[in-house]
């Protein structure tokens, strides 16, 4: 179906009004003093609501809402630990302990990008160039994940082809990014953050309402534990309201390591070293703004990803009660009393007989209502044909990234679908703008200018870098789909930033004894170990890249015979080694120049 045929008048009008407001706020930004820097120049600070909401809008994207929301539908409410880390680490620790020192150090050293902050703190062009190159090379992966998140929703909402939806979404967001989003007009981002907050708050309330409330909804979800697909049960999935089985050395503990190491730690800790977020601290006027921002930022993060993960999990309880009826034969009874079975899905052939759909056995709850549209079933000659409803993954065609879009389309009123579309547009635009701003300055100011020693042509390099980044993100979104790719791609970028940058960043802020050699050693260790792990150990990623199969005659990991290692996230190995490298080399090398340290920490 063509997109134009799928959208009604109100949908077009609402999107145009939204884009008009964004355009107006952007225009104001060009003609008045509306960026954080403008406020600083005027000796004032931005309003804490504007500061914290724009930070939150940059932090939380379609990746969190659609990608991680879908992962919550798959793995359950154990993902709430990630929300806790998002609030406690991403807001509280970041604002209270890192924000002030980052701002002071950045201003004293006159640093304007994250790589420049590291480079000037350690008096090293190499550090600035290395950090800039890593950001430039890998941020398109995260941007691709953000694009996939928005695209999955547009494809589901308007029932159009994924690739057509991707083209539309990429063009709209790229136009915004290039036309004005890079400028970081705080009112625009605050407006986008406000839409996200309102949209997700309504979703949270309605999501609990649909399953009968908080406790009732959780209990219904607990009762669905037998419906966990066998492949996930084998990995240690104990149900959507239970933590996965913990241990090491057995395949039955794989899911715990996926949930804790990749999903929770990778993203939960990695937020501290996100280049596009760190630079925000330099634009605040005082510690007071950060203190006030903690309150608003904490609430924002609680509502936005918190809603996505809770509603994602609850979507299973919704679909087994209200999903479209499935027709099939019972091949296994899981719980007779609750009517939980494994259904072999069937369809009518040309002669009207029920035949199995190959490869379609799904967990389901039998429909026991009297008038469940059973006429077509009773009309069948085969009395073994029954009807039931499946878990969320069944309705999302086995792709967890489609669960939230499918849920919104099925469960929520039509008007909310429009609001959610704007919510996702806002979430994607604000994050993409900051990502491409970081990408552009990395390749121009941090790599090109440092390598050539000149700023001539830097703007052109910046523009070309951004265009290349957008194209690369689009190509990633075009080819990579399924297998909770949004969450995995996001986790790779967050984990890489954490392992490569966090020790150098934290050490640079707080430890005068941290040396240039130590920073370089920790960055190289973090990057190399992460790359090694992704290329040769972590099975899903290594298999997709293909090098490990070439080197090991077809194995998916060099540790394929050692259970759990192939699912452990690189951050578990790379970050400790990176920290050890920072510590060890600092102790073995001469202390930094005292005059420079005095300048940094006076």
């Amino acid at each position: 179906m063509l997109l134009a045929q799928s959208i009604d008048f109100w949908e077009i009008l609402l999107v145009i009004v939204y884009l008009g407001i964004i355009g107006y706020l952007g225009w104001l930004g060009y003609h008045r003093t509306r960026t954080a820097t403008d406020y600083l120049l005027a000796g004032r600070g931005t309003h804490p609501f504007v500061m914290a909401t724009s930070y939150g809008a940059t932090f939380i994207s379609t990746s969190a809402i659609v990608g991680f929301g879908g992962v919550a539908a798959l793995f359950g409410m154990s993902l709430l630990w990630l929300v806790f880390l998002n609030i406690f680490v991403g807001i509280f620790l970041a604002f209270v302990f890192l924000g002030g020192p980052t701002r002071r150090l950045g201003h004293r050293l006159n640093a304007h990008t994250f790589p420049e902050l590291l480079g000037r703190r350690y008096q090293s062009r190499f550090i600035q160039i290395l950090a800039g190159a890593i950001i430039f090379a890998f941020i398109p992966l995260y941007a691709g994940a953000v694009l996939i998140g928005g695209t999955e929703f547009i494809a589901a909402r308007f029932e159009i082809d994924y690739h057509a939806a991707l083209a539309v979404f990429t063009v709209v967001t790229a136009a915004y990014v290039v036309a004005g989003g890079l400028k970081g007009v705080m009112y625009t981002e605050a407006f986008q953050g406000t839409i996200m907050f309102i949209g997700m708050l309504i979703l949270l309330g309605y999501g609990y309402h649909l399953v009968g409330g908080v406790s009732a909804g959780h209990r219904q979800l607990s009762e669905l534990a037998p419906l966990v697909p066998p492949a996930l049960q084998d990995m240690g999935h104990n149900g959507w309201t239970a933590f996965p089985a913990f241990g090491f050395g057995e395949p039955g503990y794989d899911l715990w390591w996926v949930v804790v190491s990749t999903i929770t730690l990778g993203v939960g800790i990695g937020v501290l070293a996100q280049p596009q977020l760190v630079v925000r601290f330099m634009t605040v006027k005082s510690r007071q703004q950060l203190n006030r921002g903690v309150l608003i930022g904490g609430l924002f993060i609680f509502v936005t990803p918190g809603t996505a993960y809770v509603v994602g999990s609850l979507s299973n309880a919704y679909f087994v009660k209200h999903g479209d009826l499935l027709t099939g034969r019972v091949v296994e009874t899981l719980d007779h009393e609750k009517g939980q079975v494994v259904l072999q899905l069937t369809r009518r052939d040309d002669s009207g007989q029920w035949v199995d759909i190959e490869g379609k056995q799904v967990p389901a709850v039998l429909d026991r209502s009297e008038n469940s549209g059973s006429e077509s079933v009773s009309a069948a000659a085969d009395p073994s044909i029954v009807r039931g409803r499946g878990i969320a993954l069944v309705y999302a065609a086995g792709n967890s990234d489609q669960i939230i879009p499918t849920y919104i389309t099925h469960a929520m009123p039509s008007w909310f679908g429009l609001l959610f579309l704007l919510t996702l547009l806002a979430a994607a635009m604000s994050t993409l703008a900051s990502q491409f701003h970081a990408l552009g300055t990395s390749i121009s100011r941090d790599v090109y200018e440092q390598l050539t020693g000149s700023s001539g042509g830097s703007i052109g390099v910046n523009r070309i870098g951004i265009i290349l980044g957008i194209i690369l993100a689009g190509v990633i979104a075009y080819h990579a789909r399924g297998g909770y790719i949004i969450a995995r791609a996001t986790a790779i970028f967050f984990g890489l930033c954490s392992s490569a940058f966090l020790p150098a960043y934290i050490g640079g802020l707080f430890f005068k004894r941290m040396t240039r050699a130590a920073a370089i050693a920790s960055m190289i260790t973090g990057f190399v170990v992460t790359a090694f792990w992704l290329l040769l150990v972590k099975a899903t990623e290594a298999e997709a890249i293909g090098l490990v199969q070439y080197l090991t005659n077809g194995k998916s990991s060099i540790l394929a015979e050692y259970p759990n290692w192939p699912v452990v996230d690189p951050i578990v190995v790379a970050l400790p080694l990176s920290c050890l490298a920072a510590l060890g080399v600092s102790l073995l090398t001469r202390p930094p120049d005292q005059a420079h340290i005095n300048r940094c920490f006076r």
């Binding site: 409410m77 807001i91 006159n110 908080v214 959780h218 209990r219 005082s286 609430l299 121009s444």
Partner: protein, 57 residues
């Protein structure tokens, strides 16, 4: 409690609420603390940042 029997998931749920309460309480207590005057470094940084914004945006 809250319909959640698994202590680890319940702990995650309560920690989320606890963390947001911590943020709210901290924000309220420190609402008027930490005001700082702009110094020469801040002004120099902001002036150059404006140039960077104009150049790259």
């Amino acid at each position: 409690m809250l319909g959640l029997d698994d202590s680890n998931v319940l702990a995650g749920y309560l920690l989320c609420i606890g963390a947001v309460l911590l943020c709210v309480i901290y924000g309220l207590i420190t609402w008027n603390r930490g005001a700082e005057d702009t110094d020469a470094d801040d002004v120099r940084w902001a002036a150059e940042e404006k140039e960077v914004e104009e150049e790259f945006s």
